[in-house]
Amino acid sequence: MVEQDGAATASGASEAVAAGGADYLPILLVPALAAAALPLIGNPVTWITLTIAALAMGMMIFVIASGLTLVFGLMDVLNFGHGAFIAIGAYLAMTTLVPLAGWIQADQLGLNLAALGLAILAAMAGTSVIGWAFERVIIMPVYGQHLKQILITTGGLIVTEQLIHVVWGGDQKPMPLPTALRGAITIGDVAVEKFRLLAMVVGLAVFVAMLLVLNRTKLGLLIRAGVENREMVEALGYRIRRLFVAVFVAGSALAGLGGTLWALYRETLTAGIGSEVIVLVFIVIIIGGLGSIGGCFLGSVLVAQMANYTGYLASKVALASNILLMVIILMWRPQGLYAVGGR
């Protein structure tokens, strides 16, 4: 234990939160996995379609997972209730889209995107307020106590999921996809669904924005420093608690955004939507290395690739194959692809 921690701190110090530095090896896993899948799938057109689907799905998972991993990195808080934010975001978006039905059904990209933008805004605003309250009421009293954190946030998850049932009812709801985003664009033989393109754009935008904030602003500098060594940042006179609340709220808002995208992708909505995604999100965070944004990005793509390829080849073992992926990566690097700050 002690030796491991020491070694991890030494290697962790050379790596930033983002996948910078000299360690490019894990990035090669993505093309390697894609190349390995090609002969198994056989048909290159199917393979390209699956790979694009995987990239889109990966971006959605990344949006959800990034907030969670950053919160963990910064304050050592693992929020098992994150799944509830996903569900709340999706439900808020649906509630916003219902009165905007005219805008969604209109065959105009502008109106469609405006409706979608409003829905996403509502989802993010709602989940950030709820995230703030969650942090205040549920998490604040149990800082530094891992066991209680896991228990309390799981309790919070139960209560929030039940409240969704109370407010929105328990039955499955349809999630309307705007007209302009239905269907697919065909390039040669390959058909790419329009919504997947949107999801990819949004996910990439979030990733780039996050990298810019973390690497180019003072706020990001403080967050990165806090992940590496919290006490030192506090000793320099910064209130890491406030920083943490801000990151937590941002993470909740991202969960809301991710939940909206995920619900649109599924086109239906149940209160259990969060628990369904959260398993993949946990695998992503473990694979990426707890607290690492770059690892989280790579992990999301890898998990989505695995899910899509095996979903096509042998759908029954789709989730089990991701467990296998996790096991293999942990055998290679026990702390995840990018270990951060001795975690």
């Binding site: 491991q4 228990l151 309790g155 209560v159 029954k316 989730l319 702390q335």
Partner: protein, 364 residues
């Protein structure tokens, strides 16, 4: 040597109880009274309650006492959170159930199924422990959650083997079938249902005492030391990985036995009753409400929870009806929403009574 006719002297009796409970007495008059009441009610359940629902409730309590006690070994005594406990419970349930279904209703096939389940569970627990307990305890919670979800989905998907979402109903060995009637020399006829109940009850009782024995052994002390301060335990020369992994394997084995008892009693196994995340949450609630790290909490928590589950929902239904005129209130009181209130209770008890009911009773 003592003969049955000898008058027991109180000191000797106390020593016997002390040995039976491994020196870990309830340490509270009220708690002792509650435990004796629960034990007596469960022991006399077939005589006291002729109805099917009541006896099913009693059998379920017995099964869950074992399951929750084994979980307490992990959560309360070793301080690690596992979300895979239902996986092991399900392994036991499916192991015995599928063996009886495929190989016919004999004790041999039940035992064979149980052995396969036990070996699989312990190997799995060992591997999971080796992988995730090495790095960090928080890893373990996430890894177990992922593995358990994958297992539940796999069990539902492989429908030719497991019966899929519907699960499998099967026949149990003749001795414990409901329509078996056996003439006892002095007590008159006894049904197979009653025999089955006593098999479940006595096994649960023995397993609970075994769990009590484990946590009060030197091994159990080391587990508690790891829970309090793993760094210091490691510094004292205890290999924490070895101890944590052993605790994980032990708990998994006990969960398998609980699952086997469940199959024997209900003659059915399916994903919703053994593998679902909802059952995992139930176990968590029972441990926390009963009292983590006390073992007796498993008895109190499981009893309270299952009785509440069966009877509170009716009460909530009545309450929802009587408040129909108000907005939102009937929705909150609807019987399906009982998990909401338990969730609130759970959060509150983690904050305010981390030692649960048993801890509170011991303080008083």
């Amino acid at each position: 040597m003592r003969w049955a006719g000898d008058k027991e002297n109180p000191v000797e009796r106390r020593a016997m109880i002390n040995t039976l409970l491994s020196g870990d007495l309830p340490r509270s008059r009220l708690l002792s009274a509650v435990l004796v009441l629960i034990l007596a009610t469960l022991a006399a359940a077939p005589v006291l309650f002729p109805g099917a629902q009541a006896i099913n409730t009693a059998a379920k309590i017995c099964v869950f006492v074992v399951l929750v006690a084994s979980y307490d070994l992990l959560l309360g005594y070793t301080g690690i959170v596992s979300f895979a406990h239902t996986m092991f419970y399900g392994l036991g349930g499916y192991g015995v159930g599928l063996a009886l279904y495929t190989w016919g209703p004999t004790w041999t096939s039940a035992l064979a199924g149980l052995s396969v389940a036990l070996v699989t569970a312990i190997v799995l627990a060992f591997l999971i422990g080796l992988f995730s307990l090495r790095v960090r305890a928080i890893f373990f919670a996430m890894v177990t959650l992922a593995v358990a979800s994958a297992f539940a989905i796999l069990a539902a998907q492989l429908s030719t083997l497991t019966g899929g979402e519907d699960g499998r109903s099967f026949r149990v060995p003749e001795l414990v079938r409901p329509n078996t009637l056996i003439e006892l020399p002095f007590a008159g006829p006894i049904t197979g249902r009653t025999i089955a109940y006593y098999v479940v009850f006595l096994s649960a009782f023995a397993l609970f005492l075994a769990a009590l024995r484990i946590v009060n052994s030197p091994f159990g002390r080391v587990l508690q030391a790891i829970r309090e301060n793993d760094f210091r335990a490691e510094a004292l020369g205890y290999r924490t990985v070895v101890y944590r992994t052993s605790a994980n394997c032990l708990a998994a084995g006990m969960a398998v036995l609980a699952g086997a008892l469940n199959s024997l009693w209900f003659r059915y196994t399916g994903p919703d009753t053994t593998l679902s995340f909802a059952i995992m949450l139930d176990i968590l609630l029972m441990v926390v409400i009963g009292g983590m790290g006390t073992m007796y909490g498993a008895v109190v928590g499981a009893t309270l929870f299952i009785v509440a589950q069966n009877y509170l929902q009716k009460l909530m239904g009545a309450a929802a009806k009587s408040t129909q005129a108000l907005p939102l209130v009937p929705d909150l009181l609807q019987p399906d929403r009982w998990l909401l209130w338990l969730g609130v209770l759970f959060v509150l008890s983690v904050y305010f009574f981390p030692t649960g009911i048993v801890g509170k009773l011991r303080q008083a």
